[in-house]
Symmetry: D2
Subunit: 342 residues, 4 copies
């Protein structure tokens, strides 16, 4: 059976990644693509790498006939998203890739995003889109809020450890290395090739990165008590990929066993053999997340490293995984593409 | 129907690319992988990006039971290949990715590769693997010789122009820009990241590059007279992709029309609108080749630019396309993956 | 003796490169830096890599007291430059890095830059800044027009050959590979790391690139007849460097001997041994230009490859070389820095 | 006064970097260069970027007349170094860039390098080459042991904090990001451009990296008690640069003030304004180290980030700084080159 798909915000990287992946999806058909400022253009002119595909012309959102759409992916900026989703039909299934519906508490949203939430009822309705931990809720949800890409990576490394209590909840640190596509297609000096290639720096350091809102919400929820981690992201001269180096206090063998057991049946989460650590190169372009564990020379200190592709498992691949569940399609459909190397 | 596939020389980049692509191929099953020096290892240990796949353990070639193999891809170095293929069963279908069977004339082989050919009978049997121009012969061939990746790119730009005589055969120049994976996984100082990133240089300049043997053979054959082009390749700090900037004498509109007409029904060869030129970024990881044409300000001079991925359309994708034909599978099967961007 | 220097337009890459080089110049002192939109900021805040230097705060141009300036470098956009330079004191020595004063003929300026020239008297006064060919005129000039970076590279490869007539003037082709800093600090999608890294494409192809105005002017002048070349630039994923692969008709040994003889006493132009070709990696960050010559397999066809750093020898280093001449300082002062590798 | 310099092991990156820097040093003259396997070749053939310099031909070490050498830089592999240095004249001043003389305790050397030390007397004589902390001892030393590049970066961030006791000595963690030139010119698959570009991974994780021997020795010495830190290095797709993200427990303002006070008079160590963090791009090619401090959202947790160029301040620049002291030359001579950007 073919499900009819719309992508709102198709002119950004996550929108294009949705199209790339759906092109190999046997049960999805793209029937509408929106990009307000580029309405009227072909997708091939905006993203020439998609020119071999037969795709609808870009439209304005209000030109789309949603009665013929089974599910919409919404890949718009935060804040804009609230307005757009509020105006969509209330029975339309939606997978949102923005930050707007990730945080349960409107006060937390305002704290991290600097403005009040204007669609609090939708926020209450939304299910957090970390598939492997909200599978049942997602399957029956109407509105799923895709996670932050950094937030997904850190949670894959840490959630089973926090749930089972095998690590010290007061000493968790994520030093994260992120590729540049996570910053989107925005025109900023520090994203220029001339400025970004050949070097690295930290950003949003000291507890300012917005994905901390998700970490706080989720880790505190599963711990049953407040959990606040340290989180320092760095920008790296690579286009795709996130490597989260996670420092915890706990027994390394137990940490490894806990993760391996929890993810044993997960099709996309691969726990590597003990003391083998992942590389972002080995998951690029795919929906896989590789996780490695090693003990430190200091007893009781353990390092968990998780790697995924921010555009795939970190956003658009995750979104399709959730859409599969929402539409009753086998969860891995269209997502088993091998990574690309070199 | 599932065809049983062996890959000889699976520890190099083209071998790994074959595995990556076949992982999405619904009618091929990999039953044997060889890598003499790494025999006994798992493919996941040699290429961790393939760890999600269930693959046979690497073997030595003489350990493979070829009676259970329908077709073998041979991704071994030249010279070695002659010896190996000579020892394989004479009824085994083979798609070779090396240079050993590309040149019809043993003297030409010796001239370009510096040693006599030792399997002249096989060389005579082999069909040149440029699918779009040898489709019928390939479909009934037992042994297909994959083209050089640079040779494929240049031929896609030029063959229809030479065949139809719309350009001057004595003034053809290809200035080619190649990504580094074309050099393979060999350990050379100039392939180190520290030496290769951030700069460019020409190599094998002045008519020394071995792919000139293929250009000479093919262009002279279709022209019915000797055709010798200029060809200067450059090494670029990118992993995948070839951009062939081709300078010819002929009317630009006629050149464009000739290419557009010739490739109108080709699933992988896309002629862009007149005066639009391709980027290697738009075909990375895919089996597509984008071709653009623009006229120079000097009347009668025309520029044709072709872009493809050396590992896919330039070698392993082409190889699968040929294997599909040889096994009676629809030609595009397993090869319609979208490019990856960014 | 110390000469007092102003840099107008210090917030772009060529402005910053001037500061970097002057920091090692024993006879220049920077007394004023302008950047209209960033006036009031420190140079360290705009370019943190310069934070170890004691530099004047950025000003608006009209805040500068030019009576205390011996020479001004003008690193502003074209068109703006005409207006600014027209308003400067008529006895102030100026080295301009823009395109505004390169073309002798106002009609040519209008043709290539799409608008009439508004400072025709200054254009007539300006000396073309290709040091090695206008040394005497530059030494006594008040206003020197720095060359285009691509134009400089191509001229170093070709001028002596055109002057001596050892090549066919009707068959000259430059296929050029340029690093991204040549495009400046402008915010464009195709200059983002995510879009530019990992691939290549041609731009301004077919005879549209503005530096052709310089090629036409200079080559026709020295030939004493119209000379129009083909010129196709390509954008490469590297920050610095230009590689001009130049195709000519002429005897390779004669071409090499002509270049070697002409540049034998030039401190910055190095002709490599015959058949050795340059790499942009070997001149990065320096004022050197490496030139190599090789014969093609087709008799009478020769390839000349020139490599330089667009920000140094292609613009800011050249500018300082000219300023040295204008101020009576030894020409190589401050410019003998070794390239940086890797 | 000109001091006569020999460089032993001139065919590696640190050897070439010594030559690059000494080319601008007004009081050093290179009189001998060794590279055993490349003896007889010119430096220009091994490193074409140095071709503008007049340099001695590469020799075997035993061909050098050390009676005419004032100071030798030794840039050879560890273990080899012990043998070579033992055979040099006992009155020759030596700055060693290898790991062989960094550790005071032969047992520690054997533990980290896997073999007994064979020149224990020289090891006892050697002074640890972290200039800013051993200035007096270095000035009168005959043999100085250059630090590890990672070890230097971490110590610049942490030594003043450990000395003054403003941080918890039992909770120090360095997550380090290193460019690839730190791995040298060795031919390894994972250093190829095709394998290294576009991704990142941790290496020597869990307390296995040899530079921990230096951290342990130095931090324990200045603390007067054992100090063992966590240290996880990562390999990044960049050629030069180390970014050490250091996590400590202590008051952020105090940490910043302590570092700022300690380094106020240091010419190469720049403490950035509070809450400003460094980028490796801003120190590339220079002898500067930028250090930034920011407080975490969790009270009492502080992040110190240090950035330097592994080839310059991390090894060859440091070596020249030490040589200046040993020869009575002003310490910054030849080392004030601005970084290169972009």
């Amino acid at each position: 059976m073919t499900h009819k798909i719309a992508i709102l915000g198709a002119s950004g990287y996550t929108g294009a990644e949705l199209v790339r992946l759906i092109a190999s999806h046997p049960e999805f058909e793209i029937v509408a693509l929106s990009a307000d400022r580029k309405a009227g253009q072909s997708m091939a002119s905006v993203f020439p790498f998609l020119r071999h595909l037969s795709l609808p012309t870009l439209q304005k959102i209000d030109e789309i006939d949603f009665s013929k759409v089974d599910l919409a992916f919404c890949a718009l900026p935060h804040a804009t998203t609230q307005v757009v989703v509020s105006a969509l039909p209330r029975d339309l299934k939606i997978v949102d890739l923005s930050a707007d519906f990730r945080l349960r508490d409107p006060a937390e949203y305002e704290k991290w995003y600097g403005q009040p939430h204007t669609a609090v009822d939708l926020q209450a309705e939304a299910v957090y889109g970390l598939t492997e931990f909200y599978r049942t809720e997602i399957a029956s949800a109407r509105l799923v809020a895709g996670t932050g890409c950094n937030a997904a990576t850190g949670q894959f490394a840490l959630r089973p450890l926090i749930e089972t209590g095998v690590i010290d909840l007061d000493n968790i640190l994520i030093d994260l290395k992120a590729g540049v596509s996570g910053a989107g297609r925005s025109l900023k000096e520090n994203l220029l090739h001339a400025e970004l290639s050949g070097g690295t720096h930290a950003y949003s350091a000291g507890g300012k990165h917005r994905h901390l809102g998700e970490f706080d919400q989720e880790f505190s929820k599963i711990a049953g008590r407040p959990v606040h981690i340290q989180f320092t992201p760095h920008l790296l001269p690579m286009n795709r990929g996130i490597l989260a180096t996670t420092y915890v206090q706990g027994d390394a063998a137990t940490v490894h066993a806990t993760l391996a057991a929890r993810y044993a049946d997960e099709p996309f989460l691969e726990v590597l053999p003990f003391a083998t650590l992942p590389s972002t190169r080995d998951i690029a372009g795919s929906n896989f997340c590789h996780i490695g564990v090693i003990g430190d020379r200091i007893p009781g200190k353990t390092i968990v490293v998780a790697a995924l592709d921010n555009l795939t498992k970190g956003s658009s691949g995750q979104a399709i995984q959730n859409a599969n569940l929402m539409l009753g399609v086998a969860e891995t459909t269209g997502l088993m593409l091998a990574p690309i190397f070199p």
